[in-house]
Amino acid sequence: MSPGPNLGKDLLGLEYLAAGDIRLLLDTAEPFKEVSERAIKKVPALRGKTIVNLFFEASTRTRISFEFAEKRLSADTVNVASVGSSVSKGETLVDTAKNLEAMRIDMVVIRHPSSGAARFLAERIESNVINAGDGKHEHPTQGLLDLLTIRDHRPIEGAKVCIVGDVLHSRVARSNIWGLLKLGAEVAVCGPQSLLPMGIEDIGVRVFRRVEEAIAWADVLNVLRLQLERMQSGYIPSLREYYRVFGVTEERLARAPRELLILHPGPMNRGVEIDSRVADGPHSVILRQVTNGVAVRMAVLYLLAGGRPELAEAAKGGGAGGER
């Protein structure tokens, strides 16, 4: 009999997890990689569980990745998008969720433009809540899949990882920073000063003002998407200027003292934050990230959906022992 994981009811952010929990999630993702390579890509682990994907923001990759993860675990899934649902009629988040819960669901995967929306919901409903990105706060499953992808290539402990771009508005950056620091990586950020959070050095993150310095230092670059509306709001002068100063280009990488691993959470703006030749180049693991995303999400769903610790304790009392 194995003890249940120490994860709690919800996955809201990597900031709230212990290093051991993060490792457990990554280790559990490993066998799920293989499930997606089978001819029949499905195991019955979550048969009978009902999962609602509640997406208040546009999302292709994350929503589909969650949906594949759910279906490959045999859960029943429903997708609710804010457009075309009662949300667009002014229903509050809690009312929407309570109504869903009244239909006896087990888990909610939520994407929401407001930071803290996932926690707000988790504290008000009994279902497991998985944060699929909340405002500028966190995107924990993206953080986990980035960790898994780095770990496929090298140990995370001691790895020098630089996050390049709009760190200020990025929930992906936040989840990465928490996860990497907890697992013992050295973390840096690089970008225009207007797009870096103030005081980030205080949590042990190094800051590079020039992308050349970041490339000279790092083992891994995680290149963030530059949201195009940042230009309209005056954070950067122009996209061309951004590419000229911060673009991760083949020429810049050619001068790196070692081979770098290149990650990007997608969707990419080719020719803005990343050169196409880098995105499609030999050191890019961008599509591997997407593949790993399904495995990581299967691991999260599987670990959260499992039995409650108190039931596991009760089961230890009698019935089948360690053997089967």
Partner: protein
């Protein structure tokens, strides 16, 4: 806690002999050794399957492909026992269609693991036949499942525990019956 009694069922020599006897039984029940596949149930079943495969290869001169099956994701009691922290790898070396597959496990008890293993194998292909070989059958079935080849049948009560050690994982070969005294 009531006193527990630890009784050795098999030492390393007995396990060795038992595996050779099981290999002979498996060959006797197999029409064509060329179609054999041994699939061990994670984790100790995997080690036992590889020893059986060697014994069968020695006896028949025919190499036997072997795989590993982790049935965790096919269990029917996730709700009750909670998720197993680490799910082991599943690896099947050949297409199972038309093969004579033998599931190998260390201890047969309720039969629920084997039920799960049968479901999982069905998702990988359609073997011509599936057999079950276990080192220890301790009785106490909760499902209508029986082994075709049994190394050692024993009668163990619901409060007893059968522990099989294999040198690859535990440093030595042995099997124990651990009985908890009456409460």
């Amino acid at each position: 806690m009531p006193p527990t009694e630890r009784q050795q069922l098999m030492d390393a020599g007995a396990i060795e002999q038992t595996i050779h006897a099981m290999a002979r039984d498996i060959l006797q029940q197999t029409h064509d050794p060329a179609h054999l596949v041994l699939v061990g149930v994670q984790r100790r079943g995997v080690e036992l399957a590889s020893r059986l495969a060697r014994a069968i290869a020695d006896a028949s001169g025919q190499a036997v492909p072997q795989g590993a099956l982790d049935i965790t994701l096919y269990r029917d009691d996730l709700e009750v026992v909670g998720p197993k922290p680490i799910v082991g790898p599943t690896h099947l070396p050949v297409d199972l269609d038309g093969r004579h597959v033998w599931i190998v496990d260390d201890v047969l008890y309720t039969g629920r693991t084997i039920r799960a293993a049968l479901d999982e194998l069905a998702d990988f292909g359609r073997p011509a036949r599936i057999g079950l070989a276990v080192l220890v059958d301790r009785g106490g079935r909760e499902l209508p499942i029986q082994a075709d080849v049994v190394g050692a049948p024993i009668a163990a009560g619901p409060r007893d525990h059968v522990e099989v050690l294999v040198r690859e994982l535990d440093g030595r070969d042995a099997a124990f019956l651990i009985s908890e005294g009456a409460t």
